[in-house]
């Protein structure tokens, strides 16, 4: 029987609520807007005895990830949260966490990166580290932030890779929304006790973590990491299935919204999917065959499933909340790759860049993308003045 509770929380508080139920062993934390409410809310839980996590208020994000690596290697559940410049500062440590196969969980409140400095939402921070060997899961709203915390943790521990749960800075992290939370025992049972395979504090079987690897072995290490990443999609679907049993909600690699018979589709990740759904609903009422593909799992990227879902769509607009200088925008590039795998499809695909540095995107902008005539030859900048 599902005994869930409905409450209203911001995305950041939803992350903290999930953390309260997970009760991680160690959390090194460092403040940065718009992530800070996550660690502040959680610190209050610890202060009130609602979680007994050991928090370390480190002196930088580089140290946050270094301490998380130390703790995770030691054999405990280690988690943190960050944004923007924090992600950039810890960028050195992210491939080390994945290379050492440590299932660290990190919430990211996605934000623009400098220069010029800007504290508002876009996806440049998480996209800059998309090849760091981390699992990346995008969230549309507070409910998904909460749910993905459990899914990502279980997934990370099952394949021994670190995972990021990504919410849109301010838009999701600071907006109050209704969501359902699990009963604590159901949440605890779902994640179970952590049993590390190899760990540093195993004094009977001392291990060396982070050795020097020369050209005769390094390549094999990386190949094994690829193999671990290859297992993620299957494991993710299995875990989503198990999670549905306790939460009642369906989770998939992505959300296909009114896509079955769609002639035109938008592909987007994050909170803008919510706006896009309203636009789709309105256009559907007017008889237009439009749909939406909302990305969830971005790393590893589910090429085959995405290609399959989009293969009958004639016109596809891919919305990236980031820019890739001198290259295709990341989500656009992945969607093109997905479709390239499908033989004999005839489609037009358009790259749209929107919302950098927190620039608003409205329902009307999305309707316009659906209705405009475009040929995909040039990038469209939505909302650019």
């Amino acid at each position: 029987m599902i005994l869930n509770t409905k409450i209203a929380l911001t995305g950041g508080a939803a992350a903290a609520e999930a953390l309260r139920q997970i009760n991680p062993d160690v959390m090194p934390v460092y403040p940065i807007t718009p992530q800070t409410p996550i660690i502040e809310t959680f610190a209050k839980f610890v202060a009130d005895g609602e979680a007994d996590t050991e928090m370390i208020e480190v002196e930088s994000e580089h140290s946050a990830m270094s301490a998380a690596i130390g703790a995770s290697a030691a054999g405990v559940r280690a988690m943190t949260a960050s944004s923007s410049q924090g992600i950039m500062l810890m960028a050195e440590m992210l491939p080390i966490a994945s290379g050492m196969r440590l299932p660290i969980l990190m919430f990211v409140s996605a934000r623009a990166i400098s220069a010029p400095i800007n504290i508002h939402c876009d996806h440049q921070d998480v996209m800059a580290v998309r090849d760091a060997g981390w699992i990346q899961l995008f969230c549309e709203n507070a409910q998904e932030v909460y749910d993905n915390a459990f899914i990502a943790l279980k997934l990370a521990e099952s394949v021994r890779l670190p995972a990021m749960v990504i919410m849109d800075g301010f838009i999701t992290s600071h907006s109050v929304e209704n969501l359902e939370i699990l009963e604590k025992s159901a949440a605890r049972n779902f994640i179970g006790e952590y049993e590390p395979k190899n760990f540093l504090l195993d004094f009977e079987n001392p291990k060396t973590f982070g050795p020097v690897s020369l050209p005769n072995s390094y390549f094999e290490f990386k190949r094994r990491q690829v193999e671990a990443m290859d297992k993620v999609i299957g494991k993710y679907l299995e875990i989503c299935g198990n999670y549905k049993e306790i939460c009642g909600r369906e989770y998939n690699l992505f959300e296909a919204y009114k896509l079955d018979d769609a002639e035109k589709a938008i592909v987007v990740a994050g909170s803008t999917a919510g706006t896009a759904k309203v636009a789709v609903d309105e256009l559907r009422e007017q008889g237009e065959k439009v749909g939406l593909l909302k990305m969830k799992l971005f790393r590893p990227f589910p090429y085959a499933a995405v290609g399959e879902a989009l293969k009958n769509v004639k016109k596809i607009a891919v919305l990236d909340r980031t820019v890739s200088f001198g290259s295709d925008a990341p989500l656009f590039s992945e969607i093109k790759n997905s479709l390239y795998q499908i033989p004999d499809t005839k489609y037009q695909i358009q790259s749209c860049i929107y919302g950098l540095g927190g620039r608003e995107i409205f329902k009307e902008d999305i309707r316009k993308i659906f209705q405009d005539d475009w040929n995909g030859k040039e990038i469209k900048y939505i909302g650019l003045k």
Binding site: E57, V58, E59, H62, S66, I69, G70, M93, L201
Partner: protein, 303 residues
């Protein structure tokens, strides 16, 4: 090799002939019977002891990056606390988290991480083996390189006498964090190092050891000479042996008549340019600095 010495660090490492780092590691780790986790940062020790698929470490060991010895130790020491709460580590069983890092990883790139870990009062021992330059990359100047030294990035030449800045006073920086224990030691004085390591292991909270480690490659002397040259560093007061215990300073070795710094300098290729015409002024300045530092230390020790 002696079984006691190799109990925690095996002989199969690849440090250079005449390198004192293994002696530092063995002396420090030999001073406790508690379970140990070793953290090392990128540098000579890490690259010469963990060449996959081999490891010289018979105790748990982790290396993750260059500038994060303090933070890595913080994560491990905190994991120990978390496991103790869950009764996964018995209450009475002390776990020693020991960092070994070079001067580059400590004075320079790792200073912030060390500072944070000291300030947060984690239960760990940080040992800096100080060979006074970036030796894993082949001898570039660091914040630990003494004034007047010839290095790959501060070469002596027609218009240069080597490094033009004084060495960073790392001990004062560490002590400004009010650690539980801090000491300056020298690989050429192993019983003194052992005594300090023992005291450090018996103390809880943040502890720090700065150990001079003459490097044959940078300092340029015959590999058989490292103990003699290390001794000269202390006998000239270039590298005094002292401790900081609960706010008090204690000098561990002193002589009525310290040798002239020249005695130390002339044994090493990195200072040989100072013995050519024009170098005298630099030596005078170096001697003055040594005397001033010694006076300061003596004054502190008398407080």
């Amino acid at each position: 090799m002696n079984n006691d010495l190799t109990e925690k660090f095996a002989p199969g490492h690849s440090t250079c002939a005449g390198c004192g780092i293994p002696a530092i590691v063995r002396t420090v780790l030999g001073a406790t019977s508690d379970p140990i986790v070793v953290v090392s940062v990128t540098g000579c020790l890490e690259v010469t002891s963990t060449l996959y698929p081999y490891s010289a470490w018979k105790v748990p060991f982790i290396h993750s990056a260059f500038e994060n010895g303090g933070a890595t130790a913080a994560g491990i020491a905190t994991a120990v606390k978390a496991l103790r709460k869950k009764n996964k580590i018995p209450d009475k069983k002390r776990v020693q988290v020991v960092v070994f890092a070079g001067d580059g990883g400590t004075y320079d790139i790792g200073l912030q991480s060390l500072s944070g870990a000291l300030e947060r009062e984690h239960d760990f021992l940080y040992v800096c083996y100080d060979n006074e330059a970036y030796m894993n990359t082949g001898g570039q100047r660091s914040g630990a390189t003494p004034f007047g030294a010839d290095t790959e990035t501060t070469p002596a030449g027609k218009n240069s006498f080597g490094k033009t800045e004084k060495r960073k006073d790392l001990m004062s920086i560490v002590i400004a964090h009010h650690p539980r224990y801090a000491a300056q030691a020298n690989v050429a004085f192993l019983p003194d190092l052992k005594m300090k390591a023992k005291r450090a292991f018996e103390t809880e909270g943040p502890r720090f050891l700065l150990v001079l480690q003459p490097c044959t490659n940078l300092w340029k002397y015959p590999t058989s000479e490292y103990v003699r040259i290390g001794k000269l560093a202390t006998e000239t007061n270039f590298w005094p042996l002292w401790e900081y215990i609960d706010g008090r300073y204690k000098i561990n070795w002193a002589t009525e008549k310290p040798k002239l710094l020249e005695e130390f300098l002339k044994t090493q290729g990195r200072f040989k340019h100072l013995f050519k015409p024009g170098g005298e002024k630099v030596i005078v300045e170096m001697q003055k600095e040594v005397e001033e530092n010694w006076k300061k230390l003596v004054n502190l020790a008398e407080i």
